[in-house]
């Protein structure tokens, strides 16, 4: 930070100590994967010298967040800028850290169940599904088919709700206000179904270990079918507003590109991975719940840019509706709860179970010591891992693209920080 920093007349910028400027010459490796040479890809700002001209500009370090309208919560991104061009970023996270994993070690398996809803609070049902299935696996029991179908329906509805929230906020970040209200209007219908089913709208705690706590309410199927007829035209409406909008195309095409190789190396999952052209979805790859019974497509993108991620998610919303339509027509009769001991004492052992949450692979690694409390629960949060890709996606882009990319990664800080 030399002299002549704009706006820096009186005092130095805080947090410059976190930036480590290493004048390492960047080798011009023309490999497709930026991560191939791992020493080049670091989370801290390891930056080469900017192109020198005699009208050289000074670099500007800007703190985006933790209180910033476009960081979707308390994410702080330190941007190193040359003009408006991003030279590098560093994410500072942990502002919302509540020690969920520590709490788990001090609660019984049943007591911990509601806590998982608080991680990815826009997709609470998915979190609950992953946790319940993981513990069921550890107990070596299986939920009855009726419970599995209810789980699939609610989880897919939740995926829809999560994607709608993503679309609204993402579009708002890019400057389109209207989709936000449209998506919230339609998300409301899903939340109404949740509320009718279990009394809660956001942190639903819909499932229990071994099945579901509640039988479906009267008219559940009708409500869902009503929603299935209601939603497709609304999704078309969002697409009408955005998909072919010239400004939207310019803002999203070739922005935040992440190649297939990079996406795999960075462990990115979910729509972000699929938009890079990897046809991988845990619901197909390792079907859980009742997903093997249903027929659906995995939408993939080609370029791995923001627009592809947008189209992938839009298509995923349609596929979710397709799954729900298949499921709701043939919910089997029968019990909704498996025979679960009153006091859960899973045998000593460990298990890793993951599901396809709206944001990517959500995994639970549970170690049991034979007592009623888990010895260790590790949550593999999709947002946390996906956020790591931010740096590689925005280097060389402009500040406005950083906003777009944060939006397109679809992070929820509750899950990143846990």
């Amino acid at each position: 930070m030399g002299a002549g920093q704009p706006g820096d007349r009186e005092r130095p910028i805080i947090m410059t100590d976190r930036i480590m400027v290493d004048p390492k010459t960047t080798d011009a490796k023309t490999s497709d994967a930026k991560t191939a040479d791992s020493t080049r890809f670091l989370s801290h700002l390891e930056l080469g010298e900017p192109d020198k001209t005699f009208l050289d500009t000074n670099e500007l370090v800007i703190n985006m967040g933790p209180q910033h309208p476009a960081t979707h919560g308390v994410l702080r991104v330190i941007l190193k800028l040359d003009g408006e061009q991003v030279l590098g970023t560093e994410c500072v996270i942990g502002y919302l850290h509540r020690g969920v994993e520590k709490i788990a070690e001090n609660r019984t398996y049943t007591m911990f169940n509601p806590y998982v809803d608080r991680m990815d609070y826009v997709a609470a049902v998915s979190n609950g599904l992953g946790y319940c299935e993981a513990v069921e696996k550890l107990l070596n029991i299986e939920a009855p088919p009726r419970a599995k179908y209810i789980r699939v329906i609610l989880t897919e509805l939740n995926r829809l709700a999560s994607h709608q929230l993503w679309l609204g906020t993402h579009a708002l970040d890019i400057g389109a206000m209207t989709p936000l209200f449209y998506t919230f209007r339609d998300r409301e219908e899903i939340l109404k179904i949740f509320e009718k089913y279990c009394g809660a709208r956001l942190t639903t705690h819909a499932f229990r270990i071994g099945g579901c706590q509640y039988e479906t309410y009267e008219g559940f199927e009708q409500d869902v079918i009503k929603f299935l007829d209601f939603a497709p035209p609304k999704i078309d409406e969002y697409e009408e507003l955005l998909t072919t909008n010239r400004i939207w195309l310019e803002r999203t095409k070739n922005v935040g590109v992440i190649s297939k190789a990079d996406a795999i190396a960075l462990g990115v999952t979910g729509p972000v991975l699929r938009a890079s052209g990897v046809k991988w979805d845990l619901r197909k790859a390792q079907p859980y719940a009742a997903y093997s019974d249903f027929d659906f497509e995995i939408p993939i993108g080609a370029n791995g840019d923001t627009y592809d991620r947008y189209t992938v998610r839009m298509e995923e919303m349609r596929q979710s509706l397709r799954i729900i339509r298949q499921a709701v027509g043939r919910i089997p009769e029968g019990p909704i709860m498996a025979k679960v001991p009153k006091v859960m004492k899973p045998p000593v052992g460990e298990i890793y179970h993951s599901i396809e949450a709206p944001k990517g692979e959500l995994g639970y690694f549970i170690v049991s010591d034979g007592s009623t409390q888990p010895y260790r629960i590790r949550v593999r949060p999709p947002s946390f891992v996906n956020l790591q890709a931010l740096d590689i996606m925005v280097r060389g882009a402009l500040v406005a693209d950083v906003i777009a990319v944060i939006g397109t990664l679809d992070i929820v800080l509750g899950e990143v920080d846990r």
Binding site: M20, T35, S38, T39, F41, L42, S43, H44, E46, I93, G94, H97, G99, E101, K102, I103, E105, N106, K137, L138, N140, D262, I264, A265, L266, G267, V268, V278, W280, A285, Q286, G349, E350, I351, Y352, S354, E361, G363, F365, V367, Y375, R376, R378, R380, F384, V385, Q388, D417, R418
Partner: protein
């Protein structure tokens, strides 16, 4: 696959087993880095799902370090486990999978396990100056770094 690897490393792989349909192997810390690299390059485990640790304070080698790997071509998951003592460090897997960067930082943050060769090993979820590693078993659930809380938040207790 395990047989092949066992032939190569012999005693390096202590155990290779399946529990509840999930494969895992327990290996010596000395061979773990090489093994991870081979798993990626030869066995196509191209996706590192997670890196985490479990603390067993009673044991001599206190920590179980766990790598969960997935192979897209084989559609198969495997867990690689190694046991290390407190203060011992393992080579970083960042050069194998870029995603290991933050995951290893989190393990360091929560357990205090150091990774050799990690580009930027520092706390990720906890504040930089925090003392103690919260996910160790000897760290109480309401325990906190009083000094840090006082200095940075200006309050006596965060609870």
């Amino acid at each position: 696959m395990v047989g092949k690897l066992k032939g190569q490393y012999g005693s390096g792989i202590r155990e290779a087993n399946t529990y509840l349909g999930q494969n895992y192997m327990v290996v010596e810390p000395s061979v773990v880095f090489e093994l991870l690299q081979i798993l990626r390059d030869r066995e196509q485990f191209d996706y590192c799902v997670d890196i985490t640790a479990v603390h067993y304070p009673q044991r001599e080698k206190q920590f179980d370090l766990v790598w969960i790997l997935y192979s897209f071509p084989r559609n198969e998951r495997i867990r690689v486990k190694t046991m290390i003592a407190d203060g011992e460090s393992v080579p970083s897997a960042v050069s194998v999978w870029a995603t290991a960067n933050w995951l290893e930082r989190e393990v360091y943050d929560m357990f205090g396990i150091r990774f050799d060769g990690h580009p930027d090993l520092k706390r990720i979820l906890m504040p930089d100056g925090w003392k103690g590693y919260p996910l160790r078993k000897d760290y109480g659930i309401i325990q906190q770094d009083q000094e840090w809380v006082q200095a940075n938040l200006g309050i006596e207790s965060g609870q």
